[in-house]
């Protein structure tokens, strides 16, 4: 099984569910989970197909709340 180029991890408690990361992910692998609320009452973000992540960090750049950590495979 091939290793993805990139890996994103979310600090869910900081997330405000604004959806910017979802919008600006070029590979469209992020989605908002309408079932899961964090303590602040926001629906958090999940990755649909982690192996498709290219590690571009667009999601993280657009995230106002520094929720997202992006790692790349070197």
């Amino acid at each position: 099984m091939k290793v993805p180029k990139g890996r994103v991890t979310f600090n869910d408690e900081l997330c405000k569910g604004c959806g910017l990361c979802v919008e600006y992910c070029p590979t469209h692998i992020l989605y908002q989970d309408m079932k899961t609320l964090n303590k602040a009452g926001y629906n958090i973000i999940k990755v649909s197909e982690p192996d498709k992540c290219i590690g571009c960090a667009f999601c993280a750049m657009m995230c106002p709340d520094s929720v997202i950590k992006v790692e790349v495979n070197k």
Binding site: C18, G19, A57, M61, C63, S66
Partner: protein
């Protein structure tokens, strides 16, 4: 082997940002924080928080800070910088704070060439107080104090801060940027970094005007707000470098 490409900046504290979901204030905070770390000036920096949604920024930037009365950030910054010329001093101000009540303090700090950096968040509205008209609001824009939309004959035209400040002697660097997509975020970061670099080099007054958003008071989703910043704000507030003493 995994290498971290992006994570929360050490220039920010652990305090959760007080901004509404998707507000661009948070993005600009990150850019400033990253710059202070990258230029290794965080521990010399004194942030001046203004009154607006960013009033709590003194809790967010991971350095010393002062919280200024509405509109007076540049006066505080002047007071600090004149007695601590070797420190880095910057203000973070909204358009109501800077362009309306604080225009005098900002112009005169610029004219004196105070060696400070001003981060100017233009979101065409008074966010903190619930969406009143700002001098920067667009013609036709509906706000709580221009409920049928801004009309030039009654409210005047949107004020062009960067255009005006370009005429002021003490200004060393002045650029208008936006953060409505990753490309522009990267560019905004460059501009902010250049401004602080100039301050390090004691070149004079530097200001970065950021065309920002206010999803809540614009009545839009954060994503639509970013789109509106591009489609409606940018034409009225063209991006670019308005003054660069280094290039002269």
């Amino acid at each position: 082997m995994w290498e971290t490409k992006y994570e929360k900046s050490q220039g920010l504290t652990d305090t959760k940002l007080s901004y509404c979901p998707g507000c661009a204030h948070g993005i600009v905070h990150k850019l400033v924080a990253e710059t202070l770390v990258e230029l290794d000036i965080l521990d010399k920096s004194i942030a001046i928080a203004s009154v607006g949604c960013s009033v709590f920024s003194y809790q967010f930037f991971n350095c010393d800070a002062q919280q200024a009365p509405h509109g007076r950030a540049c006066a505080l910054a002047t007071g600090v910088k004149r007695v601590l010329p070797e420190n880095i001093v910057f203000t973070y101000q909204g358009d109501g704070d800077l362009a309306s009540i604080g225009i005098a303090e900002t112009i005169h700090a610029a004219n004196r060439g105070e060696n400070i950096t001003v981060i100017f968040i233009n979101n065409a509205i008074y966010g903190m107080t619930g969406g009143q008209m700002a001098p920067t609001s667009l013609i036709g824009q509906k706000t709580t104090t221009s409920q049928d939309g801004r009309v030039a004959e009654v409210h005047g035209n949107p004020i062009k801060i960067s255009e005006m400040f370009a005429t002021i002697g003490g200004v060393a660097y002045l650029e208008r940027v936006s953060v409505y997509d990753p490309k522009h975020v990267i560019n905004a970061k460059k501009a902010i970094k250049k401004a602080f670099q100039y301050q390090k080099e004691k070149r004079g007054f530097t200001m970065i005007e950021v065309v920002s958003t206010c999803p809540v008071n614009w009545g839009m989703t954060p994503v639509d707000a970013m789109k509106w910043a591009k489609s409606d704000m940018e034409p009225e507030y063209p991006l670019g470098v308005f003054k660069d003493k280094g290039a002269e």
